[in-house]
């Protein structure tokens, strides 16, 4: 096996390692900061942008050295462990322990901590091409693209379907970097750089020793969770940590404390406000939030059955093992997506209690839309009650919160005759076709149900004047929140920014400026790749969003969609490589194909929005990314390595993908809805089509 072959294998190794590290990094940042769509988009954005810069930087390096490549490849393999450790340790070194920082500090933290690795990743791929070409002239950027895709697919599948279920992040890093590290060592050895090899070998030994040492990994979590970690699991849905302090448990999901023992106030408010409205409670559906005192409070009504729907089996497992989910014969745990379960309409309930966080992600917004309320009503018995809560200050309602509450109020009001807001610790929404009574303590007295908080504090905290004030404050003109126009997410973003007294406008302005500057200097074909990267990430976000809305958030299926996107790139790249001599025709056909696919999406979103087979989503994702994959080798061939090395093409693709992630995920869908997002993608693609057409005419 020649040195060039080893380098080629290392490209695949880089793909396997980098995609896993990317997924681990996103999860890590979500565990460190507030996990809304903004954080997710920021991580992806920084990743793609800095990779793009790395690719551009590789243009600068004239001399190609296999030794340098080997060192870079080794660093790329080893660095992720340092990166994740650094994220965990620096978080509390820079920010105040326990604090959620605002937009700009989070952005700069993500940028700085992920920059070194992502820069290497962006740099090494085009650099590898340059090194290979030094000995093998026939090797093209298109082939490199294929190899990279093979690595990405392998890494993505390994991580999403196998490793995430069984291993912790450090071990996953060690396993997915193994191939890259091994090849790097082999390269150094083949080059007979023995001193370098000794150093490299020693580094690798230290790397694996730390990666597989459980105590080391746990120690990196101590800053965030303290030393009393009882259980630490990584589930596909996030990081589950259980801590025990002075005999009391706190449950953490992706870094946020979601439950602490002895939280009587929340348990009573959540359960009694809706259930005391009913003359008879036969069966209750609880969507999330079943830990602690919740079931004890529900059981005071002696229901025949309590169905408790929870998405993450790991959460239930850990809670059961620690006694936080005491078994009751009436309680039936259903491990699935709550929205999906309600949509199936298997059973009818006296009450549905939704205990979820604020609608600040696409996943959560699905529980606050007209489509959801429609389906929820469908599974409620006659005069049954639906209840959920949103955060608001009981002493003052700010403009943005009036907007948020009004929007949800108007949305739910469309399906229930009566909607009552009770300003407790949070604002509780009660919706029913039957009568609703705000005098909760009286209703409880009538049923002889004893409570600690409500009977003692309700009349003082939730006064008639406060109830009237909040119900009167609802603005009937506020818009309706829908699945495909999730405008409440935008309000949540505004609320988030207001909390920190910052505005994203500077950020958006600076980005637009940089983008215009970049687009001004790139070649026509590079713009085509930029727009393709933009559209690819944009469509991926749209598909994931639509799929979740219709079928619910099922990890394996969402993972399968992402895999379809990755899988499509490979045959696309192979075909592109085969047809590259046909040049602009192929580029043009791929453009038309993408535009057609986007038009189909738009028609579906505009007129149908009906349930389509799941397979259609998978096929759509595969087809779109196939067309994206076709374009890369063709564009590379048209431009030629002399005029623009692979670095420029990779950069265009990555920068486009970064811009697409941010524009579609955080701006267009929340602000204007799914249709507007598709139209924006059509315009972006249409512009690149025009560019190609114009090139034809000139010729």
């Amino acid at each position: 096996m020649s040195l060039t072959d080893l380098i080629i294998i290392s490209v695949i190794g880089t793909g396997i390692s980098s995609i896993s590290v990317q997924l681990i990094t996103v999860r890590e940042f979500l565990s460190q900061f507030y996990g809304n769509e903004i954080t997710i988009s920021l991580v992806l954005f920084c990743w793609l942008m800095v990779s793009g810069l790395g690719s551009l930087a590789s243009k600068l390096l004239k001399r190609k050295s296999i030794t340098l490549y080997s060192i870079l490849a080794l660093i790329t393999g080893l660095f992720p462990l340092i990166q994740i450790t650094a994220i965990r340790l620096f978080r509390d070194a820079i920010f105040i322990h326990g604090e959620s920082p605002g937009f700009y500090p989070v952005f700069f933290f993500i940028l700085i901590l992920s920059a070194p690795y992502t820069f290497f990743i962006g740099f090494i791929l085009p650099y590898s091409l340059a090194v290979i070409k030094a000995t093998r002239q026939t090797f093209t950027a298109g082939k490199l693209y294929i190899l990279d895709n093979i690595g990405d697919i392998t890494g993505g599948v390994l991580f999403s379907f196998i490793l995430v279920y069984f291993l912790s992040p450090f071990k996953i890093i060690a396993l997915t970097s193994f191939l890259l590290i091994l090849i790097s060592l082999a390269l150094i050895l083949c080059l007979r750089r023995y001193f370098l090899f000794m150093g490299a070998f020693l580094s690798v030994v230290v790397f694996f020793a730390f990666a597989f040492e459980k105590r080391f990994e746990l120690s990196t979590l101590a800053n965030q969770y303290g030393l009393n970690i009882v259980s630490y699991r990584e589930s596909p849905y996030g990081r589950i940590v259980l801590t025990k302090e002075r005999g009391e448990y706190t449950f953490w999901e992706s870094g946020s404390p979601i439950f602490s023992t002895f939280n009587i106030t929340t348990a009573e408010e959540k359960v009694h406000y809706p259930l005391c409205q009913l003359d008879r409670v036969e069966d209750v559906l609880l969507v999330s939030g079943g830990m602690g005192e919740t079931f004890d409070e529900i059981l005071k009504y002696s229901p025949h059955r309590i169905d408790y729907v929870e998405l993450d089996p790991t959460l239930i497992k850990v809670a059961s093992q620690s006694g936080l989910l005491s078994p009751h014969e009436q309680v039936n745990i259903i491990l699935t997506d709550g929205r999906g379960y309600i949509a199936e309409g298997r059973r009818r309930y006296s009450a549905i209690i939704v205990d979820l966080s604020e609608p600040d992600t696409f996943q959560l917004n699905r529980f606050y839309t007209k489509e959801f309320f429609d389906r929820a009503k469908g599974v409620l018995r006659k005069d049954g009650v639906l209840s959920f809560s949103l955060i608001a200050n009981p002493n003052y309602l700010s403009e943005v919160r009036v907007k948020k509450l009004s929007s949800i109020f108007n949305t739910v009001k469309g399906y229930f005759q009566n909607v009552l807001l009770i300003p407790g610790e949070e604002v509780y929404f009660l919706a029913s076709d039957g009568e609703l009574d705000a005098d909760i303590p009286r209703r409880l007295r009538e049923r002889s149900i004893a409570t600690s908080y409500i009977q003692g504090f309700y009349y003082g905290n939730v006064t008639e004047e406060r109830i009237k004030s909040i119900n009167d404050a609802m603005n009937p003109d506020e818009f309706i929140n829908t699945d495909f126009q999730p405008r409440v997410i935008n309000i949540m973003f505004t609320e988030w920014f207001k909390k920190y007294g910052t505005s994203p406008n500077w950020f958006i302005g600076a980005l637009l400026g940089l983008l215009v500057f970049y687009l001004f200097f790139i070649r026509r074909e590079e713009y085509v790749l930029f727009s393709t990267g933009f559209a690819a990430m944009g469509v991926e976000m749209l598909i994931l969003f639509s799929f979740q809305v219709i079928y619910g958030y099922i990890y394996l299926k969402v993972g399968a969609i992402i895999t379809c996107f990755l899988l499509g790139l490979l045959p696309g790249a192979v075909l592109g490589n085969r047809w590259k001599k046909r040049g602009k025709h192929v580029l043009m056909n791929a453009e038309v194909g993408m535009l057609l696919l986007l038009a189909v999406y738009l028609i579906w979103a505009r007129f149908y929005q009906s349930r389509v087979p799941e397979l259609i989503f998978f096929l759509y994702g595969f087809s779109f990314s196939l067309l994206c994959g076709v374009q890369f080798p063709v564009a590379a061939e048209i431009i030629g390595e002399e005029k623009s090395p692979a670095a420029g093409l990779f950069a265009a693709d990555l920068v486009g993908a970064g811009a697409g992630t941010l524009a579609i995920g955080t701006l267009l869908i929340p602000l204007l809805g799914i249709q507007a997002a598709i139209i924006a993608l059509i315009l972006i693609k249409a512009a690149s089509t025009m560019l190609i057409l114009r090139a034809y005419r000139i010729r």
């Binding site: 340098l68 105040i96 604090e99 070194p116 404390p257 602490s260 004047e465």
Partner: protein, 391 residues
């Protein structure tokens, strides 16, 4: 222009970059001492004042001038404002060389609460209190539950119009015995509070200050002549924590307690037990030692359970056991009345005689099930019970 760099140059640049990163990293690592000094205290808002006073403005009561510049003397921030500047608390502005309070008669929150909600356990139990707030605060607490009014400018919030006379009239009409200046930070709307308190006193209505206690001596002494009670936060007994979590300093708050004590104002102290910060037994012991030495054992101390709020939302709730332990420490040290808050149903809501330890007030939330105090004395052993009990 040269387009490429050589390998050697590249390696040198990378080396320099690594060195830079390493140096930066070292700065972070070696930051322990600096971390201790982390400070989130607010800053003056330069050039942020409105062009002219609005309807709800009044000239500040305590300030000095230096030409066109002014310095607010109400709180220890002592904001030095050049023309056009706005104070840390956001409620004071320098307009053409005069200091104005722009939070006067424009409350953004008006409610009627039980007195126990402030919390005040020894001040006319089971009575109502007319509660008002205008926007602003001289602190920056990371866990503020009222941040939408405390961390906002008066112009940024929805507000009503209730000038001091209106507040007093409404309170009287509703037959409520006291007015509380609460929710946000009353020291930031000092002038509004002062004038309302003065009029309320004339009408026989009591005045209650609910505050962080970050106020200078003279304004506090002047206000004290109209004050009947206060609940003042003693957020911790550590200046570093005050700076890191609250954006203030400890000593001025301690001075406030001393002034209130000297002036004979009834007050109770509240400490939010933030896990990892305000839950150290040693610190609570020191705090109790100071209270006993400077204020005596009679002022009640409330330990509140922390729940994740606002920006400080990645900490767990305080374990109830921790609260109980701190309460035991405070009682052992000699504080006569130590209560727990945010733990519904806990026996530490009740009042026990510090002499005979019998149950004086049994509380079910805000309701009183048993009341064994007669004319301010324990019904059992006749010991005077500190507080204001009425008839």
């Amino acid at each position: 222009m040269r387009r490429y760099i050589t390998r050697k140059e590249f390696l040198r640049e990378m080396g320099l970059l690594s060195l830079l990163i390493a140096t930066d990293g070292h700065c972070f690592w070696g930051k322990d001492k600096e971390r201790e000094k982390a400070d989130i205290r607010g800053r003056v808002f330069k050039g942020d004042a409105p062009k002219k006073p609005w309807k709800w403005s009044i000239e500040g009561f305590y300030y000095t001038t230096n030409g066109e510049d002014v310095q607010c003397m109400v709180c220890p921030n002592r904001c030095y404002l050049t023309p056009g500047d706005r104070s840390v608390c956001r409620s004071k502005v320098n307009i053409a060389g005069k200091l104005y309070s722009i939070a006067y008669g424009n409350p953004c929150s008006v409610h009627i609460d039980p007195i126990e909600k402030k919390p005040l356990s020894h001040f006319y139990p089971a009575t109502e209190v007319f509660s008002i707030a205008a926007a602003g605060c001289n602190f920056r607490c990371l866990n503020c539950q009222n941040w939408e009014i405390s961390q906002r400018k008066p112009e940024e919030v929805h507000h009503g119009e209730l000038f001091p006379a209106d507040v007093v009239r409404l309170t009287k009409e509703r037959n409520i015995p006291s007015i509380a200046y609460t929710y946000s930070e009353p020291i930031s709307y000092y002038e509004y509070m002062y004038d309302t308190a003065r009029l309320a006193r004339e009408e026989g209505i009591k005045n209650v200050l609910v505050s962080n206690g970050y106020i200078n001596k003279r304004p506090l002494e002047d206000l004290s002549q109209y004050l009947d009670a206060a609940n003042v936060n003693l957020k911790s007994f550590d200046d570093d924590i005050y700076r890191r979590l609250n954006g203030g300093r400890l000593q001025p708050v301690l001075n406030t307690f001393k002034v209130l004590h000297e002036k004979g104002i009834w007050f109770e102290m509240t400490t939010l037990v933030v896990p990892g910060y305000v839950d150290k037994p040693e610190m609570i012991k020191r705090m109790c030692g100071w209270i006993l030495k400077e204020l005596g054992p009679d002022y009640p101390l409330h330990f509140l359970r922390f729940f994740p709020r606002y920006k400080l939302n990645r900490l767990p709730a305080t374990p109830v056991r921790t609260l109980e332990e701190l309460r035991d420490i405070a009682l052992r040290e000699g504080i006569h009345y130590v209560y727990l808050g945010n733990v519904p149903g806990h026996e530490a809501y009740d009042t026990y005689c510090h002499n005979c330890h019998k149950l004086l007030i049994e509380r079910h939330g805000y309701y009183i099930a048993k009341f064994n105090i007669n004319h301010g004395r324990c019904k059992f052993c006749k010991t005077p019970i500190p507080g204001r009990w009425g008839s």
